[in-house]
């Protein structure tokens, strides 16, 4: 590359310039904007200029506190019981609204609570819905990453055998990947329907009618699980193909050597296949994690975040604020939080799967 014939500053900038300018303008600039806007109160359309507000947006989204309360006792010192027989506690509201003794709790709401000993601890959050969205997104990622990665590897191993017609099966397993997630979500809304949904009918037929009909997306206990299952169905073929290309980089001579040594199927996988897939595993894990954190279309089409906020997600919240409520700074703050999470997780994954020497 040292040749003088290949040197040309003008050509280099001329040819790389358009793409570099576009990326600068539509990726890097908005990224920098996201960080700056998260420290302001910018709105999409506003007569007033935006003001610098410091960490207010972050405090509003992430503010949390704990409040430990003892049960209410009457004059005799006996614990008062509520109608359902559990001890009664003072109303959390009396601490978070107009309480001069606890200015730091003002505006917070109860997220959840737990009992220990004779008292109860309340976890308060300034933005309970966003906390729920964070939690749901983490659950989604923690379930989808191993489930989808593992199933995709299983399918890749299944497809990687020499059988007549195997390409047909590979093509079929990959089919949902080319179908838009929006289309898939609407289609599965029908499959999950509580009345005439295919899933209920299928489970009913298998269990000879013993299985009761479930409104999969209308029930806070099943909605997120239903979305997880569908998302895996749609995307697993994508990662199957990536695993497959990793499998094909493993030299056949290693397998021959293993066969000569009399290695069992499990030993072959454990000592030949898996070590050969290390780089692929890192890539698959990072890609699934990044895609999973971006969960949006499924929620928008299937549940709108409900029921009872059980399917709220980070990106859904960012869009609801930044676009729905035109609160650009709030949406940008959520975007920055999302980026920090994605970046830290992919760094942790890289570190955990690093080559140990």
């Amino acid at each position: 590359m040292a040749s003088k014939f290949l040197k040309s500053n003008r050509t280099g900038w001329l040819m790389a310039g358009p793409a570099a300018a576009l990326i600068g303008c539509f990726v890097i600039l908005p990224f920098v904007f996201a960080i700056i806007l998260s420290f302001t109160n910018q709105r999409l359309v506003s007569p007033n200029a935006a003001e610098f507000t410091g960490l207010a947006n972050y405090r509003q989204l992430l503010g949390m506190a704990t409040l430990t309360l003892d049960p209410v006792k009457d004059e005799a010192g006996v614990v008062k019981l509520a109608a359902d027989g559990t001890p009664e506690y003072p109303a959390v509201r009396s601490f978070t609204r107009n309480n001069p003794d606890h200015p730091d709790l003002a505006g917070m709401r109860e997220w959840f609570s737990f009992d220990h000993g004779d008292s109860r601890t309340f976890i308060l959050a300034r933005d309970v819905v966003f906390m729920q969205a964070l939690l749901n997104t983490f659950i989604f990622v923690l379930v989808v990453a191993p489930l989808q990665g593992g199933l995709a590897l299983g399918l890749a191993l299944l497809i990687n055998q020499r059988l007549r017609g195997i390409n047909l099966f590979r093509a079929i397993y990959f089919m949902p990947v080319v179908v838009s997630i929006v289309v898939v979500s609407l289609l599965w809304r029908f499959i999950y329907d509580g009345q005439s949904g295919l899933l209920n009918n299928l489970l009913g037929a298998i269990s000879f009618g013993a299985m009761p009909k479930v409104d999969w997306l209308g029930n806070p206990n099943t909605a997120l699980g239903a979305i997880i299952l569908m998302s895996v169905w749609q995307a697993v073929g994508f990662h199957m193909v990536i695993w497959l290309s990793g499998l094909q980089t493993i030299s056949p001579t290693l397998y021959e050597a293993g066969a000569i040594e009399g290695a069992s199927k499990w030993q072959t996988f454990r000592y030949i296949t898996w070590p050969g897939l290390r780089n692929t595993a890192v890539l698959v894990l990072i890609v699934i994690t990044m895609q999973a954190f971006a969960l949006f279309a499924q929620i928008d089409v299937m549940t709108g975040g409900g029921p009872l906020d059980s399917t709220q997600t980070i990106v859904f919240q960012a869009v609801e604020r930044g676009y729905g409520k035109q609160d650009i700074s709030g949406g940008s703050t959520i975007s920055v939080i999302l980026f920090v999470i994605v970046l830290s997780i992919s760094m942790i994954q890289r570190w955990l799967t690093r080559e140990r020497t």
Binding site: S3, F5, L6, K7, S8, T11, G12, W13, L14, M15, A16, P18, A19, L22, I23, V27, I28, F31, A34, L44, V45, L155, L163, N167, F169, R170, A171, I172, Y173, M175, V177, V178, S180, I181, V182, V183, V184, L186, L187, W188, F190, S196, N201, W233, V241, S245, T280, L283, V284, F296, A297, V301, V315, V319, Y323, S332, S335, V336, F339, V342
Partner: protein
């Protein structure tokens, strides 16, 4: 002895195929259900879900749902919008990203390393994290068009096209591919006095068939399936793409037959295209997994 083991082998072969077929059913039946249901009147569609008839085109079969879908929404317009946005973006993306990769791999210029590493760094920025500030930027960008200088890109084709022309992944794919081409060829052509434009057009691009196919397919899938972005920046029906057009069918009482007809209409052409170019599609996904 040999007889037994042959039988055993046959049995194992059958189980293998049984497993493969069972999994195939899981992947294919929802899609079969979609297409089959689009041909049935709502009442029959709902009744059929109780049996295997759900997956068979039986009973009162017609294209009525398709006619109704076209009456409910300007379906033709949505499809045209998606074709325009997708087609233009794919073509411009191939041009801009291949030219940039050419400059990064073959040309020696000041700033090359820095610009390339900045571009590759954007690979870890998910689009979802920049969508909101990009919305603000797009609402205020100027444009010089037929009606002079205007401000704001909302409700246009350009807001759906221009931000997606250049991206880190496409440039990365071209860079990886160009690195494997013989660099001596380029140098020899320079020594012979060929211009950079000639080398790009006559030598490098004719050799770039596989990577062009890969990049085009990936871009096509991303652009045709866009949802979040057009949802935010296109309220005007005239520029709405197919995925956002789906909203016309989310009513309180969903007419499922029409929904299935619309879903089939926007999905079956892509599936047919995929089945026709199956090898290229799969190779394009696989190549994103080849780490440099």
């Amino acid at each position: 002895m040999a007889q037994i083991s042959a039988d055993n082998h046959g049995l194992r072969l059958y189980t293998r195929y049984a497993v493969l077929v069972l999994i195939a059913v899981i992947f294919i039946f929802p899609l079969v259900f979609m297409v089959v249901s689009s041909l049935k009147p709502d009442q029959q569609l709902l009744a059929d879900t109780a049996s295997l008839r759900a997956f068979l085109p039986v009973g009162d079969i017609s294209l009525n749902n398709y006619t109704a879908a076209f009456q409910r929404a300007p379906v033709g317009l949505f499809i045209m919008n998606s074709v325009i946005v997708t087609g233009v973006t794919v073509v411009l993306s191939l041009l801009a990203c291949s030219a940039a990769a050419f400059a990064f791999v073959f040309v020696n210029w000041k700033g090359r390393e820095l610009v390339l590493s900045l571009i590759l760094a954007t690979l870890i920025v998910p689009f979802e994290t920049i969508a909101i500030p990009l919305l603000l930027i797009s609402s205020q960008l100027p444009w010089i068009g037929l009606d002079g200088l205007t401000s704001g890109w909302l409700n246009t084709y350009r807001v759906q096209i221009i931000p997606f022309i250049a991206d880190g992944l496409t440039i990365f794919l071209f860079v990886q591919y160009f690195k494997d081409l013989p660099g001596e060829l380029i140098e020899a052509a320079r020594v012979e006095g060929a211009s950079w434009g000639q080398i790009y057009r006559r030598i490098v691009m004719p050799l770039a068939g596989p990577v062009l196919a890969t990049a085009a397919i990936l871009k096509f899938l991303v652009m045709y399936n866009q949802y979040l972005w057009p949802l935010m920046v296109v309220q005007d029906e005239a520029y709405r793409p197919v995925m956002v057009g789906l909203q016309y069918f989310f009513q309180l009482n969903i007419a499922w037959g029409e929904v299935m007809a619309y879903l089939s209409l926007i999905t079956v052409p892509v599936l047919a295209f995929y089945l026709y170019l199956q090898k290229a599609f799969i190779a394009s996904i696989a190549s994103t997994g080849v780490k440099g």
